[in-house]
Symmetry: C2
Subunit: 213 residues, 2 copies
């Protein structure tokens, strides 16, 4: 197996990807709550909010959640094969005590992350949030409201590869899944992880120039 | 009154400010939890985490909180003067149900925001977090642990101006207040708010060139 291609993404790339996706998000989904999956979703969520703001309207609120994905290699009983296991750990969840914007019922909620790789984290986020919605609807004595709550996803990059996680089919048919860019199984180097940002930008520019040739 | 000077800050400026401040933060404070004040603290907190990570150690966890500052002009009774009032609203607070890293006791907790303007938001964050610590210490039956929890602050810009909010004095004497840059009462234009990021960068470069002359 050869090493995956490294894809260098600059901050301005991220900024422009959010900008380019915003009109489609507003047209197809009209979110009224953003949920940023930390740490990768923090930067795109904050940028996206600027481009989703309509003149004269308040900002769309952002709630942050923290999810960590641990990929463990487990051996299936009686099998010599190593089966990739996955475990998502919550480091932060929605705060339901603070404000009315954590009332999820009837909202269009856009989950924001930087990359859809194996889809495991996104599946976890959606299924847990759907559970929260059901719980809120039952508590409110209005179970029918659960159906009126819609989830969407925005990622900077979707990797076109075998996914371990599954998302509800209607998310795709109803255009509630939006990736600014679909790429191969490349190694995404996001700028907030760069130790030398000038060198990072140079490598990004070099790759861009090479792609043009 | 003339319009305040606009200060254009690029993403790479933000990145390098976090990078430049990280050694001092590690030396003077050694945080083991970051609390990002959303939305402005999201980007610096995520970048800072990259530079605070020590080889072989796990990432420092980030918890996000959301605070909105509403400045209202209230008329003091019997006075013709308008008194600037301030009200901070929580849009998200720590999630104490998720994980051990919301156990604040005995930790060094670095609160991250983009700017210290009137200091109102930062005062609110610190005083409310101190309350949470006291509560956790009493619950744990170890009130003495409250004293061992230290708060620090990191901002990109501190505006050298009259502050409405007050922070504990020892935060300054113990070097737990770190501003990457101290500026006058300028209008900070952060890149994540830029509608045209190329023009934003051009204005930043222009100001830099003018400052050199």
């Amino acid at each position: 197996m050869s090493a995956p291609v490294r894809k260098y993404i600059t901050y301005n790339d991220v900024h422009k990807m959010c900008q380019a996706s915003a009109p489609q998000i507003l047209e197809d989904f009209q979110p009224n709550l953003l949920i940023a999956i930390g740490g990768g979703g923090y930067v795109p969520a904050r940028i996206l909010r600027s481009f989703l703001k309509k003149t004269g309207s308040p900002n769309i609120p952002i709630q942050a959640i923290g999810l960590s994905l641990y990929e463990t290699l487990e051996t299936a009983p009686g099998s010599p094969e190593e089966v990739p296991g996955t475990k998502v750990t919550r480091t932060q969840w929605l705060d339901f005590t603070s404000l009315s914007n954590t009332n999820l019922l009837g909202k269009n909620i856009l989950i924001v992350d930087e990359v859809d790789d194996t889809r495991t984290t996104l599946q976890y986020a959606v299924q847990e949030l759907v559970k929260d919605v059901m719980e809120q609807a039952v508590k409110a004595g209005k179970p029918e409201l659960a159906k009126e709550t819609k989830f969407g996803i925005f990622v900077l990059h979707n990797k076109d590869k075998q996914k371990n996680g599954v998302l509800p089919e209607e998310m795709f048919t109803e255009k509630r899944y939006i990736a600014a860019e679909t790429i191969g199984d490349e190694w995404c180097c996001y700028p907030w992880e760069a130790i030398d940002i000038d060198e990072h930008d140079r490598l990004a520019a070099e790759a861009r120039a090479a792609a043009k040739q």
